[in-house]
């Protein structure tokens, strides 16, 4: 069971504030969805490896040719051109033309 305290803790981790109404609703929804998710515990998965992504599976299963080792997914760690400075700052909510500006982090 998710509690009010859990909702506050998780909201904090997720950088969300949430209004009182949102918290009430969130508590109800999380419990309803997690209750449904609990049916996964009907399965014994002791000897099943976690599957984090599809690509690793294509590699091991021989489902297709040309994917051996996924060596092609690796590239040399070399500098490459990136967005021009001006372009990268174009969407910034606040900038001084050189840096992104944010509220003061350290109080003196």
């Amino acid at each position: 069971m998710v509690t009010d305290k859990d909702v506050s803790y998780v909201a904090d981790l997720a950088h969300l504030e949430l209004t009182e109404d949102e918290r009430t609703r969130m508590l109800k929804d999380l419990n309803s969805i997690l209750g449904y998710i609990d049916r996964l515990n009907e399965l014994d998965t002791t000897n099943v490896e976690p599957m984090a992504q599809v690509a690793s599976r294509l590699d091991e299963g021989g489902a297709t040719s040309g994917t051996e080792g996924f060596a092609y997914a690796m590239r040399a760690d070399e500098p490459r051109p990136s967005l021009p400075h001006k372009e990268a700052l174009r969407n910034a909510p606040a900038s001084d033309g050189v840096f992104f500006k944010v509220p003061k982090v350290i109080e003196r």
């Binding site: 969300l16 999380l30 969805i33 997690l34 976690p50 599957m51 599809v54 297709t64």
Partner: protein, 479 residues
């Protein structure tokens, strides 16, 4: 020229044979959009300048008598989760309401290089999270076949423009059914290729191990022509597969006689609308008449797909959406006094209810003490779900199911019950978890005239088989 009848092939031919010009086509489509889209709400942004520039390039080629690229002059729409250079790219979210992308997604660049003309960006559920398009941060989309009903989601706008004829074809993203489910609801064809078949570079990430890019079209052949230009290895997406791209039209018209078609019992059980059942069974009958062997199969872990999906997808989403913090791009709340307060207020104001719900759920299942019980557990069950398909595909060439348990539901019907909304994806999430290709094709209508979709699933990289079976059903049902 009646633009409602245009297909990918006929639009290009019309330009090639000088029956019209690309510029005239763009004019005609914008006129139709101006007249008809307000009632549907499928477009969020029109990119007229870009469209007319591209049309002028195509017309210049046609004037010179040069060879035209494969999608020359084809007016398409792009779901607003794909980055489009110098064009607003919102992901359906208020937090990106004024975001102008500095670069193009790979699929966008490829389709334009192939001559396609991008008319605009289509509405969607916020960050592609939803099954009805009602989670758009801007406005909902109405189903062109019945305006009181949802178009499905999350790529609701991209399905609706093809159904309404306000674009010839379109692209969408599919994380748990977001191409196939709206295709079924709107009565068009929607294709989710194999994971890794199409580059995700420039697709705004929702759940990276489940996100797929694919086309919508009026016919199976149109989606094949679109995929042909979209598919292929690209280094900017390290999960894009280094597997040769076949000619997707090569086998599309081959007879289906002798193919083994699996029909999984778990997709025809409780909760399936009787009209959907009989429509899909009629489609299966057509395959039997065409000489396919219909093989009853079982995919025993199916009932665990939705719970698995909502752990994996929300966990990945909570991580992917951490970047929206009001610092580098996107909206920023101005009332935060400290940095942490600025983050929280920005995210509180910028995200809608469903996005917050998924971030919360995803953060919860990844948090200390729950990681093993939820996240790792779901990843283990994900492997079981994938192995269900491995075993099935030793016995059959393709699998046929309903795309959705019901036809399009009413706007507002499921908005207060997130779990009921999640169950709209019950037949589509399995292909995302496994990474196999799937297509939804129109397969009859309900008595009320609502479209019904049939889903065809194939082996990894066997899009040619999925297209071939889809084409056969499409033509049998039309005949």
């Amino acid at each position: 020229m009646n633009i409602d009848l245009l297909t990918v092939d006929s639009a290009r031919t019309a330009v090639l044979e000088k029956q019209t010009t690309a510029t005239a086509l763009v004019d005609a489509f914008y006129k139709k959009i101006d007249a008809e889209d307000a009632a549907i709400g499928a477009y969020l942004t029109l990119c007229k300048e870009r469209a007319y520039q591209q049309a002028a390039r195509v017309d210049a080629l046609a004037d010179k008598g040069d060879a035209l690229p494969p999608l020359a002059g084809v007016p398409i729409a792009v779901k607003d989760v794909f980055a489009t250079k110098d064009v607003r790219t919102t992901a359906g979210s208020k937090i990106l309401a004024n975001f102008i992308s500095p670069y193009d997604a790979t699929v966008v660049a490829r389709l334009e290089a192939a001559g396609a003309i991008i008319l605009g960006k289509t509405n969607c559920d916020e960050f592609a999270m939803g099954s009805s398009n009602e989670n758009s941060g801007f406005h909902p989309v109405h189903n062109p076949r019945d305006h009181s009903r949802v178009p499905g989601g999350s790529s609701g706008g991209s399905a609706a423009v093809v159904a309404a004829g306000t674009a010839v074809a379109s692209i969408g993203s599919d994380t748990g059914g977001s191409i196939r489910q709206p295709a079924a609801f709107c009565g068009v064809v929607g294709l989710k290729p194999t994971y890794g078949r199409v580059s995700r570079y420039g697709l705004i990430a929702f759940a990276s191990s489940l996100d797929h890019v694919g086309p919508f079209g009026k016919s199976v052949k149109d989606t094949a022509l679109m995929l042909q230009q979209m598919a292929g290895r690209e280094p900017l997406d390290s999960t894009s597969a280094d597997v040769p791209v076949p000619d997707y039209l090569d086998q599309i018209e081959q007879p289906v006689r002798g193919l083994r078609i699996g029909v999984p019992e778990e997709y025809f059980g409780e909760g399936l609308d009787p009209e959907v059942r009989s429509a899909v069974e009629a489609g299966i009958q057509e395959l039997a008449k065409a000489g396919c062997e219909i093989v009853p199969i079982s995919l025993p872990y199916t009932k665990y797909a939705i719970p698995t999906y909502y752990v994996v997808a929300t966990a990945e989403a909570s991580s992917n959406l951490a970047r929206y913090d009001g610092v580098r791009y996107g909206a920023r709340a101005t009332d935060g006094k400290t940095l942490a307060e600025m983050y929280r207020r920005t995210r509180d104001a910028g995200f809608g209810a469903e996005v917050k719900r998924r971030i919360m759920l995803g953060t919860y299942v990844l948090s200390a003490g729950y990681y093993d019980a939820y996240y790792l557990k779901a990843q283990r069950v994900r492997r079981l779900l994938a192995s269900d398909f491995d075993q099935a595909f030793t016995k059959v060439d393709a699998i046929v199911t309903p795309t959705t348990p019901t036809p399009a539901f009413k706007l507002g019907e499921k908005m207060n019950d997130p779990l009921a909304m999640y169950l709209a994806d019950i037949f589509t999430v399995t292909a995302n978890l496994a990474g196999i290709p799937g297509i939804s094709i129109p397969c009859g209508k309900s008595r009320a005239g609502l479209p019904i979709g049939m889903q065809i699933l194939g082996k990894y990289f066997d899009e040619p088989m999925v297209l071939r079976v889809g084409h056969a059903v499409e033509h049998a049902m039309a005949g």
